[in-house]
Amino acid sequence: MKQGSSTALKMMSGAGFVFLYAPIIALIVYSFNDSKLVTVWGGWSLKWYVELFSNEQIMSAAWASLKIAFISATLASVLGTLAGFVLSRMRKFVGKAMLSGWVTAPLVMPEVITGLSLLLLFVFLENVFGWPAGRGLLTVVIAHTTFCLAYVAVVVQSRLASLDETLEEAAMDLGAKPASLFFLITLPLISPAIIAGWLLAFTLSLDDLVIASFVSGPGNSTLPMVIFSKVRLGVTPEVNALATLMIVAVSMAVIAAIVIMHRQSRYNDKNNH
């Protein structure tokens, strides 16, 4: 019986993985296709990668996306860490539950709504204050920071919750004032969570199509937007090559985040025993 059920389990998980990853593998394989037609196999070739790097539109969109992802991930890490710190360390204050709900709401908010509401906000601000003037990289960065912040806050908050509070008391007892306590003890101890949060924010920003479509301006398309518009005109093997590169980049970031988190939890286990 046991043998049977384990075989069934293997088959089921196998089917699941095929379902999830077969399209991606097909895409990667076809990115090396020599043929001009996406659906016809014409032998191995790297020519679409060469084409890709000489396509100025794609390259500039990729550069813009990387810039946006880097800046908004960094901003989200700083703000998210502060939010996570407040949520887990501050004594009960009026509105703490509400703040915690607000911070995490973007996790479950449909992107369309987030995008639309941010667009309306930007238009309103521009009309009233004249800032931000038009929509472009800045508005995308603000929008991405907003929703990435929530992810960082959640990751940091859970790390802080599992952090032994007596460590901070010990530091105070040894003469550390609140500022040095934060920078010498708390920050180093939660830094793996912040790094993981940064990587998560970076990939989320790099991936985002919906929100960026709402809040970016003409001439400031991000990479996902360019791909999407190209695909509407018909898929070219060039896009396959680009998608392959993105998958490699994103999975490397995700794997790095997992490794860092895992290492930290092993380290903590060792310390607790």
């Binding site: 007596t166 008391e169 007892d173 040894l174 003469g175 101890l189 380290y267 310390n271």
Partner: protein, 384 residues
């Protein structure tokens, strides 16, 4: 010098300050109350601790002992009352400005710093010059015999080694007062005993006042110059270890520290130098020879420690302070044996006897009918 090394000789050479009438207390706890919402953790406690004392706060969980310690460290602000350390009012002074260091039960070593950096942390916050930091850190690490592990991270140390790092870290700043929260709680028995003596040695060498919180009465008895027994947020008795054991002030203290046989009874005769008490559990009167203030017909409890009862198969004088019974349980514990004896009234008494002889043959055993007797000055009358 006594032929037997006695740890407490140094402390008893002169009259200790807590026995002097006019001595100035080093730590004054004045009517401290701490409430968490509706719950009163510490209830109007007043306590004086003197310089160079090794004071133990002893109590079960929830007795308020840890809360009291945390208020000394400054992690909790008292709801009312105040604490003076060396004459300075600590109200409103944050932990990082108090002349106090604490050794945590979990040790709370910083996992991302080496042993050396852990110990140096407090000195660096004080702005001590780096050459001096280095010297003092290596001195204190040698003192706790960890000089060779200075570069290790805490997770690479054993429990006993971590404990000593935590101790070194809290001592290196030369605090006026060192607080220790269950300092030996996480160590195994053997290591614990060694560390107890180690702690006492360090305390004497450095001349720092220690306040130790523990739930372990043996630990308190061995370590302390004085013990404060806590229950439900109150200090019930503050006294030297032998006094707490031999002259408990209340039933709670008698039962909490060590084992005790308790008789409930009524005062029948109250004379100048002795009191007779009749207990429904005994045929003979209990006669107590030290003066206590009580009235005829007052209900009292009489406590007798198990090792103070003589037990024998041979007849003994049991006209007062004695009884007969049957052994219904024997526990051989190596150095001593514990007997459970059932009296005619059905009450069980616990009696311990040192195993002086190696012979098993003559020993008391199950179902033996025995005579029990004790001295008048072994009894403690408890009115609360």
């Amino acid at each position: 010098m006594s032929a037997f090394p006695n740890i407490s000789t140094v402390q008893t050479q002169s009259v200790p300050s807590w026995r002097q009438q006019d001595a100035k207390p080093f730590v004054q706890i004045d009517q401290i109350t701490k409430q968490f919402g509706q719950f009163t953790a510490v209830n109007s406690v007043s306590l004086d601790i003197y310089r160079n004392e090794l004071f133990c706060l002893l109590g079960g969980s929830g007795s308020g002992k840890s809360t009291l310690l945390r208020m000394l460290a400054g992690f909790e602000e008292p709801t009312s009352g105040r604490i003076l350390i060396d004459g300075v009012d600590m109200t409103g002074i944050p932990p990082w400005e108090r002349p106090v260091n604490m050794m945590f039960q979990s040790y709370a070593l910083f996992p991302h710093l080496s042993v050396e950096a852990n110990v140096a942390f407090g000195l660096k916050r004080e702005g001590v010059k780096s050459a001096e930091v280095k010297a003092r850190v290596s001195d204190i690490l040698d003192m706790v015999k960890l000089g060779h592990l200075a570069k290790r991270k805490p997770h690479m140390l054993s429990g006993g080694q971590r404990q000593r790092v935590a101790l070194a870290r809290s001592l290196v700043k030369r605090p006026k007062l060192l607080l220790l929260d269950e300092p030996l709680g996480a160590l195994d028995k053997k290591l614990r005993e060694e560390t107890q003596f180690e702690l006492m040695r360090l305390q004497e060498e450095l001349g720092i006042t220690f306040v130790v919180v523990t739930h372990d009465q043996e630990e308190a008895m061995t370590l302390a110059t004085r013990i404060g027994v806590m229950n439900n947020g109150d200090i019930i008795q503050t006294a030297e270890p032998h006094e707490v054991y031999e002259y408990p002030k209340s039933r709670f203290v008698a039962e909490f520290i060590g084992n005790v046989n308790l008789f409930d009874g009524v005062v029948v005769e109250d004379e100048r130098d002795s009191v007779s008490i009749q207990s429904p559990d005994l045929d003979a009167y209990l006669q107590v020879d030290h003066g206590i203030s009580c009235a005829p017909n007052q209900e009292v409890s009489v406590a007798i420690r198990p090792e103070k009862i003589r037990i024998s198969r041979e007849p003994m004088d049991i006209e007062v302070n004695g009884a007969t019974g049957v052994i219904c349980d024997v526990a051989y514990m190596g150095s001593q044996s514990v007997f459970k004896v059932r009296l005619a009234s059905g009450k069980y008494l616990r009696i311990t006897q040192p195993n002086v002889s190696r012979e098993m043959g003559s020993r008391l055993t199950w179902e033996d009918a025995v005579y029990l007797s004790w001295d008048a000055d072994s009894c403690v009358v408890l009115v609360s």
